[in-house]
Symmetry: C2
Subunit: 397 residues, 2 copies
């Protein structure tokens, strides 16, 4: 790190734009390779390649319900006053004329049968079946390939498999599924500064990032830094087994803000300082081939920078949609939202009667403002905020 | 089970309304008791009681950023041409007049200071600080209690803790959180009927229900039934350790549909057969104090009945919102949706240019229709469906 780039006791002379930081993430986060998992564990994972049906389903014409398989032609004219009588025969044999065979839903249709008589419409008396209403050809019959044709697409490679898609694969005989590996994220949490007392902002990072990284499909290994932040970051970058290192805290301009220097000394600090609020002291780099993202120590800034940058990195590694994963909602601004031109701002908001109200102050609302929020609004750097009546996109928690 | 209630080889004479089935669920699924978990595992769990802040946060007036703490009055008139000079003093002592003290973000404000000078606005020359712009009182200062007041509510008891709420609790010094216990669901899967070949509909149930039950906050234990469906269900109901037993398959009107008789013989079969499509052979009961829900063997019917009934039971046990957990979206019907009066129907739909198109046929679309769907529409029993142009609610996958 050249003296010119060290922000300690100087401040951020030149912050990178959010666009540049996002571009760095997109350039450095490549989809991981494939691993095989059992079909029972495949829900929630991203298929490594498109999945197609190997065979049609159902494989044969079959009964769609419990009942008696029959020839529809035999039932013409049947009524309660003039029932048609069919002989009940063995299900395994081809259907004889004027006969019916007991079938269960899902059973192959006996040869010659073309309809299923539901139990409600018949009465079995010994070996004879009384049919009291005619049945149309094809009633209750499910044709081979009706649900799915051979080579039909089952799932793509852009979103996690849904529970019923895992079920479908299993019912088609798939035992193992090739999916994108889970990103392994190593998180180094800088300890609380002594001045903040027994509990500090840093205590929030582990529990919060664990849940966020798991939401984004990754696995997390949390390490405390103790007193030696610089050593802890260097060790985390030097050991194998991580697809991404995240270090939280000690990213600012104070004398003990050693996270950025630690990366600069070990590898390349690509950028430090982003035109984002909260989250402006974020940084990114690569050391020993391992990408590293520095998140601010303030918990709300850590949350915002995770969502925009580190979460995007994790989602890209795991083959997911890199965009913010929250459900969005368009809504009208009720109370003015103020923002500084030149900074992308993340404003925590509440939805009151369907309209958007900002919560707290960008800098000092802290995590409680997010805990009380229904979601957040991302305000582009070119805007001074939003006037009442403006339409905005809320990313809902 | 009286002969009159046995539907085998007879059909469902009298199906319960969906309302009655939902009322049974609501009557029998009571919120489980509380357990304690570590704060790092609390995200995604439902607090057993409302959580409030034990103390205000931050506990003292503190610096909101890295810089120099100063008295705003001392900086009046400062400019680049006529800088104000302050003496840099020790941070631990009260601030002397015409002095400044180095502080890190989060540090307690030295007594006497009322503003923070950012590094960008000053230059330190040896023991002297040159200030080139006046600073307003309160700039960069975070007041005690500004983020949260003592006894302020932190989280309620109706939705899972969010990642940043777990982080907030941790940063406030909370180590353990009392949350609603996870529902323990024991699932008995009836094996594939021999007629269906090596792989059958039943193979879908385990993988699908595992992911659905975990989505709803429960844990799952899957048991195959082998040939003895009746014994397997009775054993599952007789052993301790389950808050709910789900049995899938063998719920219909065929001769080997033994799920409902097994419940009736062991305890009380409250209802069997619901006016729902797909999912009409669902059943519910209680045996030995354990509630049991029977889900149809057809995988799509199993999915629909899980979502409406069993999932609701699991969500209620775990203290979650019992309603369907999918994000909803109002949209206009593009192609007519057909439904039978007297049945609640679940129609798989695709959203095409923001409008709703039905997929497949209710009875025989099978799981592939759900795999290709963007969500589903629940059609009330009183309606024949929806004409093009009607507005419907889509539950999105």
């Amino acid at each position: 790190m050249s003296g010119r780039d060290d922000v300690r006791l100087r401040g951020f002379a030149d912050r990178a734009s959010v666009e540049r930081a996002l571009a760095w993430v997109d350039d450095h986060a490549a989809r991981l390779s494939a691993v095989e998992v059992g079909v029972a564990e495949s829900a929630g994972r991203i298929p490594a390649a498109p999945l197609t049906a190997l065979a049609e389903h159902p494989p044969v014409d079959r009964s769609g319900e419990d009942g008696y398989a029959a020839r529809s032609g035999d039932t013409v004219g049947a009524s309660a006053y003039s029932p048609v009588l069919l002989r009940i025969q063995d299900t395994a044999a081809p259907l004889n004329p004027a006969s019916a065979a007991l079938v269960a839903a899902g059973a192959a249709l006996p040869r010659g049968a073309d309809a299923i008589l539901a139990f409600e419409a018949v009465q079995a008396i010994g070996p004879t079946l009384e049919v009291i209403a005619p049945v149309a050809e094809g009633t209750g019959v499910e044709r081979a390939g009706q649900q799915i044709r051979a080579l039909a697409p089952l799932a793509g490679t852009v979103r996690p498999l849904r529970p019923h898609e895992a079920g479908l694969l299993a019912s088609l005989g798939v035992d193992r599924v090739s999916v994108v590996a889970q990103p392994r994220v190593r998180v180094v949490v800088a300890g609380a500064k002594a001045v903040q007392g027994a509990h500090g902002a840093g205590d929030a990072h582990g529990p919060m990032l664990r849940a966020l990284i798991e939401r984004d499909g990754g696995t997390i290994e949390v390490r405390g830094a103790g007193a030696g932040v610089r050593d802890a970051i260097r060790r985390a970058l030097g050991e194998p087994g991580a697809d991404l290192v995240i270090a939280t805290g000690r990213t600012g301009t104070g004398p003990d803000d050693e996270a950025a220097p630690a990366v600069a000394e070990t590898g390349e600090l690509a950028l430090h300082g982003v035109a984002l609020r909260p989250g402006g002291s974020s940084g990114m780099g690569v050391a020993g081939g391992v990408p590293v993202i520095l998140l601010p120590g303030d918990p709300l800034a850590c949350l915002c920078a995770y969502e925009l940058f580190a979460g995007r990195f994790v989602r890209r590694l795991g083959g997911r949609d890199p965009e913010l994963p929250h459900a969005t909602r368009e809504a009208e601004v009720r109370r003015k939202i103020v923002s500084a031109v030149g900074l992308v701002e993340i404003c925590q908001v509440r939805l009151v009667a369907g309209r958007v109200e900002p919560l707290g102050v960008a800098e000092f609302g802290g995590l409680p403002s997010a805990a009380g929020a229904d979601g957040f609004v991302v305000i582009p750097a070119v805007l001074e905020g939003y006037a009442p009546g403006a339409r905005v996109t809320v990313h809902t928690y």
